[in-house]
Amino acid sequence: MPALVIGLVSVVLTIYHFNRSDAPQPVDASRIPIVMEHREGCMVCHEEMTGFSPSHNPQAVGCSSCHLGNPLSPEKDGAHKGMIIVPGNMDSVMSSCGQSACHHDLVTKVTGSLMASGQGMVSVNRYVFGQTPSPDGPGHLSNLSDSAADIHLRQLCVTCHLGFPKKQSAPIDQTSRGGGCTACHVDYTDQATSQMAEYHESGKLPLVHPSLNIKPDNDRCFGCHSRSARISLNYEGWHETMLKAKKLKHPEKYRILQDRRVLTQKGADIHHEQGMLCIDCHTARDAMGDGTSYNHQGEQVEISCVDCHNRKPGPFVDYRALDSDSVKILQLRNISSRKTDQYLVAHKTGKPLLNLTRGSAGRMQLKGKGDNQARELKAPAEACTDINGHERLTCQTCHTQWAPSCVECHTQYMPDKKRKDHYTGDKVQGVWKEYKGDMRAAKPALGVRRDKRLNRDVVDTFIPGMILTIGGLLNNKPDKNAPNQKQPDQFQLFRRMFSPTFSHTIQKESRSCQSCHQDPWAVGLGKGTIEYHAAGKRDQQIPMTFVPESSRHSADGLPRDAWTSFLKTRTSHTATRTGSRPFNKQEQQRILEVGQCLLCHEATADNTTRIYKRFNQAITSRKPACLKKPDQPTEN
């Protein structure tokens, strides 16, 4: 009996199987191309799709190389089983872009790069919250714990890394986050955009596919990098205000982003004005990682100003000496002179910079990766290398025009409320809330940073990184200490840390001598005035006092916008990077002493030669007038 039942069921099932309405139709074998050493059955249904770049043409790589699924199944359900809509998301990238036949080595590097790991973000955040003793790694945004510091990241920051999966195919816009390889390399034409929109609306399959290329424009970077240090905004000259978009009387004077932030124009970077893209400076290794685990963004950046702006540029390598990745990139860019050009080698890494070339005529030039236009490169002015005592300065120390500074913020944990955890997508109990202070656009403060690649200390530009009060940490107290209420909170942690920044607001004009030597903000003291007093004797140090503009913070007694104490050395928890610090007492003294001379002796060529190039000698041979109390500088 059981045998007969089995036999009967099998007969019925077999008849149904071969006569059902969705049974696959016979297909001519010639319609099924061989790609990547296998038959690509997807092409039977999707052969009309267009829009691909040559290197990702389905006739060469098929559909399943990126979208997975089963290209050997003639049935729709079978073929689409295991398919991924957005290839390149980091959770599946090793099966798509990173499979062994495609970009395995590159993707392996990307996985460990800072854009994927956010290692610096994680480790600094943990350091600020007192969870770790150092702002350096390890840490990965895909592997966060339930600690207070990590919950803070999960609720506020975690979407800004490559590992955050993109769930729906769509062009990049200002709110785009994550998506692995697609975050940068997918390019939608207008037709592809409209067809994709129609697909999301009505389900009609698009016939124009977005193309994949190695020319990410600045919009790809904008979503994530318009936040935190705001470098995407700065580069284009936009400064974020605290204004509300709805309440603007003259909205035409501002730029309003998709997330309703209101921007005002403060002056763009000269490289932006020259039409350069982010990728013109930030190479593939720089953006996607070179296989080394770096702690912070600044360490991963391989280009430096002197690579382009150098009186003696070089060294160079020729085409035959390039690594295979570089050759592949040049082939994709299809530059006709690629085999005869010589390529500049980056000072920091010794790796070739493929858009910085010396042609047969011997002139060095930068070819824009977006427009392929050649640009002449300027050597630095003599003053850049010729003033004693300024050897430690970086180029951006003088040439940064402005940087956004958020003077203070307050981060409060509210255990009674609920908020979406971006990490899991679930609503979770407990909310971190940030109360922002005013945003300034001013010349950055200066401080000392340890350059690990150069293995020496440099004077660099800094902005407030973490000047904040973290409330509710110890006992999960409710939000009673929001800044408006200004109530004391015994459960709070106060931090005053600055971060080194490259604000991407470079211009040819440098800051003035006074803007450093007389400006307490530049020295890290906060806004205010330096008052110089009579020295009395030649061998006596010039007495100075500092009158701050801001009120003092109850937590540490410093002015609210300060980084360090006037003529004191501050050491503990001063910066978000190991080896970075504010000027110490002696450095402040040396800088501000020059400021007194500048009151009367402007930095003309004559004075520079006579006084500032031999400052120690000049200070001991001061005239009696120099020892009297001078006129004070105007308030900055």
């Binding site: 045998a3 089995i6 036999g7 199987h17 016979p26 297909v27 099924i32 296998h38 199944s73 003639p74």
Partner: protein
């Protein structure tokens, strides 16, 4: 308890031996139409085209696959059933020797079919099998040449799969059961089960980079053993030790035979555990999820 289970089974369905015989015949018959579209010189492409363009071919291929799996499964059950009853003493020494040899050929015919898929799994299985054969002292390389061939061609494996092993297994089965056809009910049961499984779980091909590459189910325990024991020769020796023990049961005294059977059962249970560990607790990168 096992004996009760077998009695219960045999009252309602054909015996495992009959079902194994039926499975063998169905596998042979379903292989005939399959061989028409299969091109050994372009094996992978011919199978891919079959999958994409010929739904009847897909069905026959799946029936061929499932009947083959059921043949091996019921053969093993048949052996266990008769070992429980001491049935090894009911056959003559020469036939016992040939039956044990046919067990090896049965595994080989299955494995050769797996290799003939020529997909990522098939290629990997061929590589591992070749490596294992070569570790056998003195005759390893020759045995590999005889069983797999000395080139990348699948020609020799195809001939063995299609003719050599099929003939040997067929002849010994005939000698063993002394009939040319299985019971009709066994035939209906096996054909029905193979057809149902073919429709519900059709067999595809594993492309490279499409996830974890595993061997056939009867090979997985061996793969797991190779993972734990880095020296392949030890694994080969363990395998031959078990086979020798199994072969000698026929000639051993009842007490010694009983202990040998118990030892073999324990090894079988261990092998099943290794298989389950691999199936359920290893991720795509072959990392154990429990150890």
């Amino acid at each position: 308890m096992l004996e009760q289970l077998f009695r219960f089974w045999n009252r309602r369905l054909s015996s495992a031996g009959n079902l194994a015989f039926a499975a063998f015949l169905i596998a042979v018959l379903s292989g005939i139409p399959l061989s028409i579209g299969y091109h050994v010189d372009n094996a992978s492409d011919s199978l891919q085209l079959l999958l994409l363009t010929n739904s009847a071919g897909v069905f026959f291929r799946s029936v061929h696959y499932w009947s083959g799996q059921l043949f091996l499964l019921f053969t093993l059950i048949h052996v266990i059933e008769h070992l429980l009853k001491g049935g090894e003493r009911d056959v003559k020494s020469g036939l016992w020797f040939r039956l044990v040899l046919v067990l090896l050929f049965s595994v080989y015919v299955m494995l050769s079919g797996f290799i003939l898929k020529a997909d990522a799994e098939g290629q990997m299985a061929r590589q591992i099998f070749s490596g294992l054969l070569e570790t056998i002292p003195f005759i390893g390389k020759d045995l590999r040449i005889v069983l797999i061939g000395n080139s990348n061609s699948l020609g020799l494996v195809y001939i063995h799969h299609l003719i050599t092993t099929t003939l040997i297994i067929g002849i010994v089965i005939f000698e063993h059961v002394r009939r040319a056809w299985p019971e009709l009910l066994a035939y209906i049961t096996l054909l029905g089960t193979s057809s149902i499984l073919s429709i519900l779980i059709p067999q595809g091909l594993q492309l490279a980079d499409a996830g974890t590459i595993r061997g056939p189910w009867y090979f997985i325990g061996l793969q797991e053993l190779l993972h734990w024991i880095p020296e392949p020769l030890v694994v080969v020796m363990i395998t031959f030790g078990c086979l020798t023990g199994f072969l000698l049961i026929h000639w051993l005294k009842p007490a010694a035979a009983s202990w040998t059977k118990r030892a073999l059962v324990m090894l079988l249970v261990f092998y099943i555990l290794l298989t389950l560990n691999n199936w359920g607790f290893r991720d795509a990168n072959w990392n154990s999820l429990i150890f």
